[in-house]
């Protein structure tokens, strides 16, 4: 495995990051603003900042084809940013929520995006030509608590959502006039708006941190705060799932995950490094960490000089102050995204976390 490419951007937590499709632009949520970084050589330099939100920005997403950026924040607003000759122009989205917006993602078709919120609704937003703005429709029904995460099915109609009520759900977000009728799948055949195509709960509960559809869309994986990853294979509409496999790990909770093909999942979280899970319908297991940490450890030992040792003893009363983690990330990883893939297999992925780093990993 190649050495991961780490970009230490600033000393603030990164709630979310997103790369443009050409990988030249990197957008990160930084406090109340959104920072735009431009690739220069093998570094990223600050290029622009998008001001508009007046509370912590919780999520950002760049649409790969159109290049539009959508952001949402605890100030209950979402903006769609478009690049014009005079810079980035925001358009306010009518979310109609009275709590923080927590998560936003473009649908693969890029005609809609979904915003999760603390108001126990998911706002599915689409552009209305007549009035020239983004309006929203609410997914409400069985949600009992804050939506923490969302993921789109490749058909842009089905939407998976994870919530602090410990349930992962699959909804239909079909909007007449925007979506084309989806192919029937194991999740459902007729899919009017707000159809609940699945509702899943782990035995040991725990609120949901991340959800993801497999590349084919025929399986759903989610991580929860019970340090587990659960993979669900639906059987038919209105039927219990064909298989629901729960892998409880010995790790701290995993906060984000992506699929690599249909038989591998990469997940990362409070243990500050990504892990690989492999399996299929018959069983899943944790295969181990992706990072090899030997090199980093050796480097640390060399720094330890006699002078340093006595200085540490003098200052802190201990010979070795080991505050450096052996992982590339020095704090919880929040977001994991596919960076480069070919034929449905991930070649590179990127992670960002509380330590202000964005890391690109190759596998």
């Amino acid at each position: 495995m190649a050495v991961p490419q780490a970009h230490h951007l600033f000393h603030l937590p990164i709630a979310d990051h997103s790369f443009s499709s050409d990988k030249q632009t990197l957008v990160v949520a930084k406090d109340n603003n959104v920072a735009l970084y431009q690739a220069s050589g093998n570094k990223f330099v600050l290029n622009d900042e998008l001001h508009g939100h007046d509370k912590t920005v919780t999520s950002v997403d760049i649409a790969p084809k159109s290049g539009r950026i959508v952001t949402c924040s605890q100030d209950r607003n979402a903006y769609v940013w478009e690049q014009t000759a005079s810079g980035w122009k925001p358009t306010l989205v009518l979310l109609r929520i009275n709590r923080a917006a927590t998560f936003v993602r473009w649908s693969p078709s890029e005609e809609k995006f979904a915003v999760g919120s603390g108001a126990r609704v998911i706002a599915v937003c689409y552009f209305e030509e007549e009035n020239d703005w983004w309006i929203s429709k609410h997914l409400k029904k069985p949600i009992r608590s804050t939506i923490t995460t969302l993921a789109w099915h490749p058909n842009s109609v089905l939407l998976a959502a994870g919530s602090t009520d410990s349930h992962a759900r699959v909804f239909s977000s079909f909007i007449k006039g925007v979506d084309t009728r989806p192919e029937p799948s194991a999740w459902g055949e007729r899919l009017p708006f707000n159809t609940v195509c699945g509702e899943f709960l782990n035995d040991s509960a725990g609120w949901i941190h991340s959800v993801a559809f497999s590349p084919s869309g025929n399986a759903l994986a989610f991580t929860a705060h019970d340090s587990s990853v659960t993979v669900v294979y639906p059987s038919a509409p209105e039927q219990p799932p064909r298989a629901m496999l729960n892998i409880s790990t010995r790790l701290l909770p995993l906060t984000c995950l992506i699929w690599n093909g249909e038989t591998e999942i990469i997940a990362a979280g409070h243990d500050c490094e990504p892990y690989r899970f492999t399996g299929d319908e018959n069983g899943w297991q944790l295969s181990g960490p992706i990072e090899s940490k030997r090199g980093a450890a050796a480097g640390n030992v060399r720094e330890e000089s006699a002078l340093n040792m006595f200085r540490q003893m003098d200052l802190k009363g201990q010979a070795q102050a080991d505050t450096q983690l052996k992982t590339t990330h020095q704090n919880t990883i929040n977001t994991i995204r596919v960076y480069e893939e070919s034929d449905g297999h991930v070649k590179k992925f990127s992670t960002s976390g509380v330590d202000g780093r964005v890391v690109v990993w190759s596998i």
Partner: protein
């Protein structure tokens, strides 16, 4: 008309949207074992005591963890906790690791490990049972959530400290074996013991 002190009304309780009215039973999985009573738990305790006396501590621990009254009432859970602690105290320090490895392996091993972790935390939260009479636990939190954080710990007196040290050494051994994941699951899991 009766005087109502409006300041003392718990307005959250009247608001169906409030967090205190969150339906906690919606977090329980559908495969919960049927409810058990304290007499059932007492039966298990006798069986387990026999196994301990018969020199099968591993079997005793396995049995007592497999029969945890996840769906039982408070009284059954209380009796079962006493049985688990009795087993834990009945196993010598030197044998702990070997027995734990046996109990936490095989089919359902990780569930048993998680279950044991729940009992360790519950044991540390509960006051040490005084011989014979057990006082019903007073619920401190406004609603019975299954967790109560503020409890008399009886650390100083009599057997309390000793029980705590037994639980702590089990905790250490169990974390070595199952990692921090099982501690996290104690906090999330609503199937309380």
């Amino acid at each position: 008309m009766a005087q109502i002190n409006y300041r003392t009304i718990n307005v959250d309780a009247l608001d169906p949207e409030a967090a205190v009215n969150f339906p906690l039973d919606s977090l329980l999985p559908g495969n919960l074992p049927p409810p058990t009573t304290s007499s059932g738990a007492a039966n298990v305790a006798t069986q387990v005591r026999q196994m301990l006396r018969g020199g099968d501590p591993e079997g005793a621990l396995r049995h007592v963890l497999d029969t945890a009254p996840l769906g039982g009432d408070d009284r059954a859970k209380e009796v079962h906790l006493a049985a688990v602690i009795e087993v834990l105290q009945g196993i010598r320090q030197g044998e702990m690791t070997r027995i734990l490895e046996g109990v936490c392996s095989g089919d359902g091993g990780s569930e048993r490990a998680d279950c044991l972790m729940k009992y360790l935390y519950k044991g540390m939260a509960a006051p040490a049972p005084s011989s014979g009479v057990q006082s019903p636990r007073k619920s401190v939190s406004p609603q019975s959530t299954g967790f109560s954080q503020i409890q008399g710990r009886n650390l100083g007196e009599g057997g309390g400290g000793q029980q705590m040290s037994v639980l702590l050494s089990w905790h250490e051994k169990l974390v070595e074996l199952t990692g921090t994941g099982s501690i996290v699951r104690v906090m999330t899991d609503r199937r309380t013991v």
